[in-house]
């Protein structure tokens, strides 16, 4: 674990133990090498870091606040601290990674970015950064997700992005990534694939983590300042896992802090209708890396199911697979129903409408509070719920 905490994982070829790596067409290797070199240079480049820091502060509005959620704490019997990533520009943690990669794109001299999106949060963040940097932007989005996240589709189009509906496979995030990879292999000279999570081929899992790790760095300092101590546990939802790794990374060396990732349990893992890759999947290769994958006996990817478009993905970032195997982080599934109960709880007690993704993290914290009464539990409120009001209205029968 100390290797990961010290930033030594992945290895030079992108492996977190047996996970990660590069399972891609050879045609993409040169672009991945170029990206890896640009990212390594940026990590050590004071000018890059200063510019990235300025954008995060003045444009994205970070550091995001840590909110002592006393009303929800009283309800659940533990001290719940909310890391308010929902208050960032564009409404989610996604803007951090996007600003980092968009800045890298300009350094690499590429005029075009493409992205996949599930809930639309990463697509909106990418369209936003592309507008601000003057980059052409194409976002691939499954037809099913376009239907359930209509607000974000309009936002992307207002920002000047082209949203391409993907009608293959399950018509969700997985298929949007397939289409984005096909675009990338065809246009790699001019195009950066601005991948939105800590999955994909090396260097994406490490690079996206490093651009998102400010979440945990800030939260750790803020918790110390607020409570005088580290939290007993930190919680995040896990689809691909970028907000979770962004929160976890600064705490990995703090052995007293329990790390909890909550996967989308859909109708319940035993039903087979879920998106819990670690809890209910098996080791395999998907979208360029080795990790836990929802798959059948023949290694065909199985469609995932979740009320949350942003978690509706049959894989998970390879560093999470490694943290799971190493026992440093725990991964559990939260059902649609549990997540929506937590969604309503936060609306009614704190006046905060969370993204349904983030409601999974809160639902996990509520569960954790039962076994850790009085504990301090820090929850990543990774996104806001405006995009989900139609889904939630239907769920609760509110017209």
């Amino acid at each position: 674990m100390t290797a990961s905490a010290a930033g030594l994982l992945p290895d030079a070829a992108g492996h977190f133990g047996p996970y990660g790596g590069r399972f891609v067409p050879e045609a993409l290797v040169a672009a991945l090498d170029e990206l890896d070199a640009a990212y390594r240079h940026a990590l050590a480049d004071e000018a890059f870091q200063a510019e990235f820091g300025r954008l995060l502060r003045d444009y994205a509005g970070t550091p995001s606040r840590l909110y002592d959620a006393t009303r929800v704490s009283a309800e659940v019997g533990a001290r719940i601290l909310l890391k308010r990533e929902d208050l960032n520009h564009t409404g989610a943690h996604k803007i951090r990674n996007v600003l980092g990669q968009a800045l890298l794109t300009t350094h690499m001299g590429k005029p075009r970015v493409i992205a996949e999106t599930g809930a639309g949060q990463h697509g909106v963040a990418t369209a936003t950064a592309a507008a601000m940097f003057g980059l052409e932007c194409v976002v691939y989005m499954g037809e099913e997700d376009i239907r359930r996240q209509a607000l974000n589709v309009t936002r992307m189009r207002l920002l000047g992005a082209t949203v391409v509906p993907v009608s293959t496979g399950s018509r969700t995030l997985k298929d949007a990534i397939n289409e984005a990879l096909r675009d990338w292999v065809s246009n790699v000279d001019t195009t950066h694939y601005l991948l939105g999570t800590v999955a994909g081929p090396h260097p994406f899992p490490a690079m996206v983590r490093d651009f998102a790790r400010g979440i945990g760095v800030e939260a750790r300092q803020q918790c110390l300042a607020l409570t005088g101590a580290l939290p007993d546990a930190v919680c995040a939802c896990v689809g691909g896992g970028s907000n979770a790794i962004g929160l976890f990374h600064a705490f990995i060396a703090d052995e007293t802090v329990a790390l909890y990732g909550f996967e989308a349990g859909g109708d319940g893992v035993p039903t087979g209708r879920h998106a819990a890759s670690i809890t209910g999947g098996a080791v395999g290769v998907l979208h360029g890396n080795r990790t836990y994958v929802l798959q059948d006996e023949d290694g065909q990817t199985v469609e995932s199911h979740s009320i949350s478009a942003g978690l509706d993905y049959p894989g998970v970032g390879p560093e999470h697979a490694w943290l799971h195997d190493a026992g440093r982080a725990r991964y559990e599934a939260v059902t649609d129903a549990e997540a929506m109960d937590a969604f309503r709880l936060l609306c009614r007690t704190e006046g905060i409408i969370p993204a349904i993704e983030s409601a999974h993290a809160l639902a996990g914290a509520v569960r954790l509070a039962r076994s850790m009464p009085g504990a301090t539990i820090l929850v990543n409120l990774s996104g806001r719920g405006d995009k989900d009001v139609a889904t939630a209205g239907t769920w609760f029968g509110i017209k």
Partner: protein, 266 residues
């Protein structure tokens, strides 16, 4: 039977080898077997049998659609192996082209063992690069199988040398930066890529992506050791009203392509 046999035979004829791709299980398991046999009878020198996969990121719409139909029909990996066994009897080398996860799920060594037992020549692996192929290279060595990796116009000379060194059978040069599918014009980048591969290895070089007719087969056959055709053959089956019409179209196109490689000016 290594695919090298097919390249040697074509070279002795003073021409490029014609390599035809069709997926197993499409339009049905039996239909695929019939189509591959038709392709062999009409003149391909070697066969690539595709393993339909749920997430074919290097494939364009035609092969995606075929894979989707095969999987909806309930296609299983073991049926690929029986398909290989049946078509290997037709007398030309049979390679399997597959994305990596189904092999890893089956068990890399078990897959190699069963493929060898079925009479398969080896694997073409579009999303497995030699850097990640330690287990496969060991299994291929143990079971005497060809391993065909891809090189691309974007590959550096160092990567071409490393990749060619890991290959057995031939080196697969993807002629364009892009996904599979027929194109109006053959690639301008391909001859230079083939030349770079030749500097790194004595293995034959096959060129794929985008070849669809006699003229293109002749053009590519003029500078490459192998002409690989996939989507155009798959389209014959996709566009046909029934299997008989599809088989006839596969035969006609294969004959045309076989004439193309023979007409190439080398």
């Amino acid at each position: 039977m290594s695919v090298a046999v097919a390249f040697d035979k074509a070279r002795a004829d003073g021409r490029a080898a014609l390599v035809g791709y069709l997926p197993a299980g499409f339009p049905t398991v039996a239909g695929a077997t019939g189509a591959i046999r038709a392709m062999v009878e009409a003149g391909v020198d070697a066969v690539e049998v595709g393993l339909p996969y749920s997430d074919p990121v290097l494939d364009g719409p035609v092969i995606q659609r075929a894979a989707e139909i095969a999987l909806r029909g309930g296609f299983r990996t073991r049926q690929l192996l029986s398909t290989v066994e049946e078509v290997a009897a037709a007398g030309v080398p049979v390679l399997v082209m597959t994305y990596w996860n189904p092999v890893e799920r089956y068990g890399v060594d078990a897959f190699a063992r069963d493929l060898a037992a079925a009479g398969g020549a080896g694997l073409i692996t579009p999303d497995l690069i030699p850097d990640e192929a330690g287990d496969w290279l060991a299994a291929a060595e143990a079971h005497g199988l060809d391993r065909v990796f891809l090189v691309a116009p974007s590959s550096t000379d160092d990567r071409i040398a490393m990749t060619a060194h890991a290959c057995r059978g031939f080196v697969y040069a993807t002629s364009v930066m892009g996904v599979t599918g027929a194109r109006e014009h053959t690639s301008a980048a391909a001859p230079a890529l083939v030349e770079r591969v030749r500097r790194a290895t004595d293995l034959p070089v096959g060129v794929g992506l985008g070849v669809r007719d006699r003229a293109q087969a002749a053009a590519v056959g003029a500078y490459a050791d192998g002409v690989i055709v996939g989507s155009a053959l798959v389209r014959c089956l996709l566009d046909a009203a029934d299997l008989a019409e599809g088989l006839a179209a596969v035969r006609d196109l294969t004959a045309e392509l076989a004439a193309g490689v023979r007409a190439a000016r080398r």
